[in-house]
């Protein structure tokens, strides 16, 4: 009995000493992992971790080498692109400044045409000179060697489309008419309305009279004051060469 007691006492002493040697928990590992980790499993895990670290370092080195190679290739291809661009300029006998000037000219023409595109047909008719001027600018651009460049050529095509749209907005009829001196066939409101570029219909002459009543009536009043026996009894029967008549649409 005393032997059993002695053995039990020894066991208790041993267990208590083992418990005292456990380190304090301060690692960010899974507590369960810590609790179950033996020295043997620790050595296995450490070996695997170190092997993984070594493998990753090798892969990092490979990636860095590839990145360096790619950067060099990018530098080389930039140089090739610059060289080919210069070749194109040499073929055409132009410089980079010529290209810049052409693009600035294109931008300026585009801006003006877009402005014209926003006008009413009547307003556009009054700006016919601007339309013609920009058309001339486009034609001048097309004559230059720089227009052979694909980039410039495509932009010129866009400008021509824009110009066509602007011209399509022009009225096919006049917005103003200047009375002419035609001895054989005197201009009158009836004949003016008959002209194709006005109404093509002589019965529309009252529209012209109403739109220019103050002008026509004023002229008629002065006529009456200066003539003793007036030949014309109504203002709309008398218009004078040089008078500019508004043609309403």
């Amino acid at each position: 009995m005393k032997y059993i007691g002695l053995v039990l006492f020894s066991v208790c002493v041993l267990f208590s000493s083992v418990q005292a040697e456990d380190p304090v928990w301060r690692y960010q590992m899974n507590p369960e992992e810590y609790d179950t980790m033996t020295l043997e499993s620790y050595e296995v895990i450490l070996a695997a971790t170190l092997a993984r670290e070594k493998e990753l370092k090798e892969q990092i080195a490979q990636e860095q080498a590839q990145i360096e190679s790619l950067r060099q290739q990018l530098t080389d291809i930039d140089a090739q692109i610059a060289a080919v661009i210069q070749e194109k300029y040499d073929i055409l006998g132009i410089t980079e400044q010529d290209v810049i000037d052409a693009e600035n000219e294109i931008a300026s023409i585009r801006q003006e045409l877009e402005l014209l595109l926003g006008l009413t047909p009547e307003e556009l008719l009054k700006r016919k000179a601007d339309i013609d001027r920009n058309e001339a600018r486009i034609n001048a651009l097309k004559e230059k060697p720089v227009s052979y460049l694909w980039r410039i050529r495509d932009q010129i095509i866009e400008l021509e489309d824009l110009l066509a749209r602007v011209k399509a907005n022009l009225p096919d009829k006049l917005a103003e008419y200047t009375v002419r001196l035609i001895p054989e066939r005197r201009d009158c409101l009836y004949r003016i309305a008959e002209y194709d570029e006005i109404y093509g219909d002589p019965t529309q002459w009252p529209q012209i009279y109403r739109a220019n009543k103050s002008l026509i009536d004023g002229s008629y009043d002065r006529y009456l004051k200066n003539v003793e026996e007036p030949k014309y009894s109504r203002p709309q029967d008398l218009i004078f060469p040089g008078q500019v008549l508004d043609i309403p649409r």
Binding site: V11, Q28, T38, I60, E63, W150
Partner: protein
């Protein structure tokens, strides 16, 4: 009967002693060793993150290179086209 008690006593003692040795010999990693493991794990995590960043950078560079190769091909095609046009223009002028 006394023999039975004696045998069972020895068996009991022997078991307790054996238990004592078994539990007392299970070794755990020391504090320094756990620190080493933790540092190794942190190094792996850092390396994995760096590797992912490098892979992304490589993919971006490959994409840029591909785009520039296409740009270069277009410039070369235009250059060849201009050469033909200028040659045709000159031959048309000399004729």
């Amino acid at each position: 009967m006394s023999k039975v008690f004696a045998i069972s006593r020895y068996v009991l003692v022997g078991s307790f002693v054996a238990m004592c040795f078994m539990t007392g010999c299970t070794k755990r990693p020391s504090e320094e060793q756990l620190t080493q493991l933790e540092e190794a794990r942190a190094a792996v995590e850092s390396a994995e993150k760096k590797l992912a960043e490098l892979r992304e950078e490589r993919m971006n560079l490959e994409s840029q290179l591909s785009q520039k190769q296409a740009i270069l091909q277009e410039h070369e095609a235009e250059r060849d086209d201009l050469r033909e046009k200028m040659a045709a223009r000159e031959s048309g002028g000399t004729e």
